[in-house]
C-alpha cells in the first residue's frame, strides 16, 4: 500500500531542498563573477597581510637588523622563546590593556583600514605636490581608489573582518526557498542599503559598461540546478514510503 500524499509531500520537500542548494550554487557563481574594482595603480598590488607563520619566520632576522616586530611600529619585543610584553596589561597607555594573554590582539580590521587611510594620505600629499609643480611620483591608490577609500565605499565587512574592495561580491546572498502552495521559489539578491550600485553593475549606465554577474551565474548553473532537482525527486520517489520503484521523468 502506498501513501501517495506522504510520498508527494516528501518529493516536494526534497525538490525544495534541492532548489535551495541550486540558489547557493548561483550565489557562489555570482560571487565569482561579481566585479571587484581595482583601486590600486598597476595590476598586481593589493593589501596583503603576512601570515602569522611568515611573521614568526622573519622575527629573528628583523631582530638581528634591529627592526621592530612587524605591525608594531617603534616597539621592540625581547626575542626570547617565551615572549612577554614589556608593558603590563594594566599599565596606563598600553593600548593592549584588557586583551587576553600576554601578546597583543592582532586588530586585523583596524590595521587594514589604517593601511588604506595611509595610502589615501600619501595620495593627497602627492596631489598637493603635483599642483605645486613638482614632478609626478607614483601612488599606490589611483584616482578612483582614493575616492573609494575617502567615501568609505571601498571598505566592506565580511565575517566581521574589514576588507578593501569586494563590497558588491559580499552583498550577494541566496535566500532560503519560499513555498507558496504548490510552488516554490528561491531568490539570489545583490546589493543592500550601502551597496546601492548593484543594479548599475548588472545593467550598465551611460557612463559605465555593464558587468553582468547575476544573470550569467544563473545561465551557467541552470542545467546543474535542474539536474539536482530531478535527482532529488527521483531519489525521494524511489525510497519514499514504499518498496516499489516509481519512475518519474523530469522535464524542465
Amino acid at each position: 500500500m502506498i501513501d501517495f500524499e506522504a510520498l508527494a509531500a516528501q518529493i516536494f520537500d526534497n525538490a525544495v531542498s534541492a532548489l535551495g542548494q541550486g540558489a547557493l550554487l548561483v550565489q557562489e557563481r555570482a560571487q565569482h563573477l561579481a566585479p571587484v574594482r581595482h583601486i590600486f595603480t598597476g595590476d598586481k598590488y593589493t593589501i596583503r597581510r603576512k601570515k602569522a607563520s611568515e611573521i614568526e619566520a622573519d622575527r629573528l632576522i628583523r631582530a638581528q637588523l634591529g627592526l621592530s616586530v612587524e605591525g608594531e611600529r617603534g616597539k621592540k619585543w625581547p626575542m626570547t622563546a617565551r615572549t612577554k610584553s614589556p608593558l603590563r596589561k594594566t599599565e596606563p597607555g598600553n593600548r593592549w590593556a584588557g586583551t587576553f594573554g600576554s601578546r597583543p590582539a592582532p586588530r586585523w580590521r583596524e590595521r587594514r583600514m589604517e593601511v588604506a587611510q595611509q595610502h589615501l594620505a600619501d595620495y593627497d600629499a602627492e596631489m598637493i605636490s603635483r599642483k605645486a609643480g613638482n614632478p609626478h611620483q607614483p601612488t599606490v591608490l589611483d584616482r578612483r581608489g582614493a575616492y573609494e577609500v575617502r567615501s568609505k565605499r571601498a571598505a566592506s565587512l565580511r565575517w566581521g573582518h574589514a576588507y578593501i574592495g569586494g563590497g558588491l561580491r559580499d552583498s550577494i546572498k541566496a535566500w532560503a526557498p519560499v513555498v507558496a502552495g504548490p510552488n516554490a521559489e528561491a531568490w539570489v539578491t545583490a546589493g543592500n542599503d550601502e551597496i546601492d550600485y548593484a543594479k548599475y553593475m548588472e545593467f550598465g549606465t551611460r557612463h559605465a559598461a555593464a558587468h553582468p554577474y547575476l544573470r550569467p551565474a544563473l545561465a551557467e548553473t541552470r542545467q546543474e540546478i535542474v539536474s539536482r532537482i530531478a535527482a532529488a525527486i527521483r531519489e525521494s520517489s524511489r525510497t519514499g514510503g514504499s518498496s516499489m520503484d516509481i519512475e518519474i521523468e523530469v522535464r524542465l
Partner: protein, 139 residues
C-alpha cells in the same frame, strides 16, 4: 567541424538591427557594444552579450546566448519608440549566421533601468530589453 563561438551570433544580432531602415534612421548615434563614446549623439543603441553557455547535444552544440539591447535617448518617448523598433527587428527574427542555424531569437524581459544624468547634466533615458538567442551548430 570546428566549434564556432558566440561571435557570429553577436554579428547576426547587429545585422538584424541594421536591416531595419526605420530603426537606422531613428538612431543618430549609431550602435555600440558595451558602452558608447562620450561625444556620441543621442539617441543611440548599446548591446552587450550577457551570457552564452554551451549546451552540448548528440552531434551538435547549442549556444544559448542572452543579449541586452538598450536605447539611450534624451526623452522617454524617443527611447520607448526606438525600443519598440528594436523589438520588431529582433523578436522572432531568423538570424543569418555562418555555420550555425538560428533556432530562437526572442525578447525575454525588459530591463529595469531608469533615467540617468550624463556628463553634461542632461537627463538621459535608458530603455531596453533582454533577448534570448539560440544558435545550433552541427559538429
Amino acid at each position: 567541424m570546428t566549434l564556432v563561438t558566440s561571435a557570429p551570433v553577436k554579428r547576426a544580432v547587429v545585422q538584424a538591427l541594421r536591416a531595419s531602415p526605420a530603426l537606422v534612421s531613428a538612431i543618430a548615434g549609431g550602435i555600440h557594444e558595451g558602452i558608447a563614446p562620450r561625444k556620441v549623439r543621442y539617441p543611440f543603441i548599446v548591446y552587450q552579450l550577457i551570457a552564452a553557455p554551451y549546451n552540448r547535444q548528440w552531434g551538435g552544440v547549442i549556444i544559448e546566448a542572452t543579449f541586452d539591447v538598450s536605447v539611450y535617448a534624451e526623452n522617454p518617448v524617443d527611447a520607448n519608440n526606438i525600443d519598440a523598433l528594436i523589438t520588431t527587428a529582433l523578436n522572432e527574427a531568423v538570424l543569418v549566421m555562418d555555420e550555425q542555424d538560428s533556432m530562437l531569437c526572442r525578447r525575454v524581459s525588459d530591463l529595469p533601468t531608469g533615467p540617468d544624468i550624463d556628463s553634461e547634466g542632461k537627463r538621459i533615458y535608458q530603455v531596453g530589453g533582454s533577448y534570448s538567442v539560440w544558435a545550433h551548430q552541427t559538429l
